[in-house]
């Protein structure tokens, strides 16, 4: 007797599930379409472009030719060297400075809110404004920085005009513009360290530096490594700072980074294939760092 009702029930259930799914997909569809057009499809296209050549509207499959071309271009090697130099300098400055700053700020019982506000202020400036401002500061003639050096009886520098200092100048500006975010994240992490750990370290006779080394750093290790990875990924992709400060080239191409070169390949020389091949190399290199980042942040969640 109950047999005929069973299919009707499961049908109703199926209909209900179908309707529920329809609503759910209705909510999802807009974002999915945007992702399809502006993220997923371009991702696939990046891979295809790297192995294609476009001439006069016709697309031709050329295998590894684009890669061979790109690796034969001496500018590419210089761009990689410049990018690594930028990343190295940016880590020496942009990774260490915010951590030290957050360590110092965390000790203050006064004015902490004001100081936090100050470090984050440049992050909110339109990058073009900050960069044009720094261009004035770097000017060897009337620039502010050489005035300050003069005041301190130090030799004047050529800043952006010299191959020795151009990249460092870009890094200094970039650090000023971007260090706020990292500083605030470190501060939040420092505030989560239990005070007893410091007390215990003091009982063992640890001085200031030993406390930093044996308590602060181990306690913030996860955040520090996540931020390190994030900064490597971000700095390897630097574009706006060298592009606007030095027109993307600098003296003897000393500030041309990989992404600046990708931009030039694509939009100055119309070589989308070369740009895609170079982009793919960067992607492969950074995928390793990204995977590591995802694994570490999953540990953080658990």
């Amino acid at each position: 007797m109950s047999a005929p009702t069973l299919p009707r029930d499961s049908r109703a259930e199926f209909l209900r599930a179908f309707k529920r799914n329809l609503t759910a997909h209705g909510f999802l569809i807009g974002a999915v379409l945007c992702f399809s057009f502006f993220s997923w499809y371009p991702m696939v296209r990046e891979f295809l472009l790297a192995f294609q050549k476009t001439e006069g509207g016709a697309t031709r499959w050329v295998g590894w030719d684009n890669f061979a071309y790109v690796f034969g271009d001496p500018n590419v090697w210089q761009a990689w060297r410049n990018t690594l130099l930028f990343t190295g300098l940016a880590l020496a400055l942009g990774f260490v400075v915010p951590f030290v700053v957050s360590l110092v700020l965390n000790e203050f019982r006064h004015a902490q809110g004001y100081l936090r506000l100050l470090v984050y202020l440049p992050v909110m400036m339109p990058p073009v404004a900050s960069i044009l401002l720094f261009k004035y500061f770097y000017d060897p003639g009337y620039g502010l920085f050489n005035r300050v050096l003069e005041f301190l009886h130090l030799p004047a520098q050529d800043w952006l005009q010299s191959t020795d200092t151009a990249m460092l100048s870009v890094v200094i500006a970039s650090t000023w513009m971007n260090m706020g975010g990292a500083t605030l994240i470190y501060l939040a992490a420092l505030q989560g360290i239990p005070g007893e750990l410091y007390e215990a370290a003091e009982l063992d006779g640890a001085g200031l530096l030993r406390k930093v080394w044996h308590v602060t750093i181990p306690q913030t290790k996860l955040i520090l490594s996540l931020m390190l990875l994030m900064q490597i990924i971000a700095t390897m992709q630097v574009f706006v700072e060298p592009f606007l400060l030095t027109g993307g080239a600098g003296p003897e191409g000393s500030t041309t980074t990989v992404v600046v070169l990708i931009y030039q390949y694509a939009f100055s020389f119309n070589q989308y294939g070369g740009a895609a091949a170079l982009g793919l190399c960067l992607l492969v290199l950074l995928a390793g760092f990204s995977a590591l980042y995802v694994r570490l942040s999953r540990d953080n969640e658990n």
């Binding site: 296209r45 339109p126 005070g195 992709q237 706006v240």
Partner: protein
Amino acid sequence: MAERTLISPAQLGRTRGRILYWTVLVLVVAGFTLVFLGPLYWMVANGLKSTEEFAQVPPTLVPDSLHTANYEAAWKVMDLAKLLFNTLYYAFGALAFQLVLDVGAAYSLSKLRPVLGKAVLGMMLATLMIPATVLVVPQYLTVLDMPIIERNLLNTPWVIWLPSVTNAFNIFLLKRFFDSIPQEILDASAIDGASAVRTLRSIVLPMSRPILGVVSIFAIVGVWKDFLWPMLTLPDPALQTLNVGIYSLATGVPENHLIAALAMASAPTLVIFLIFQRNIMSGLTAGSLKG
């Protein structure tokens, strides 16, 4: 008792400790003000100087006389009103699209859980692992000739609005917040006969105000700060954003006018920041930290 830090309260309590503390504090406050506020002061002050005073060596700290006319001239010559309006138009349009589509997606993935929802979320999060700069070239080629609809989006606001929706980090933040809303409340509303839209509007959204605020601010600031994408996709000077417009006009105007323009271009986001600093700073650590 306040949470203790590196330096012990006993050490700070001693006279020597206290003197050291206040010396370092004063030095740091003075140094930070100089380093982070100094350039902003320099910008506003030099925008007020006359052309002769601007070029003067050594430079003056305080302008001799206030040339507010520089600001007026920069406003007119660079047509900052138009650039400002464009940027606002793109920023708030992007905000509207992100609020509607990203919130919808996060709500669906968190509470309605459609078939393949996990896979879609995974594919969205995967975009975070692709370096953004690598995608600029294929994205540009895509908007030149959109597949299926076969339209060129260059020089239209869609080229800013639609790609801004593909912000996997926003969706992740929103989904995580929605996950923390108890399912029982939603079930109760469903039993009362409320549709999914209604539940979203009258229960989920009012409870999510803090995260919506954070996402909104980041959406607006994101458009405000972007440079490369609007430079590529809005070549028409009449449609450009503040960043791109100032960059392309920078060489054609007197230096003190340019500096005045920079000051005016920086003001809106700095004001937003000063008003919403609490939300911005809490949002900053929301995604990257647990405790």
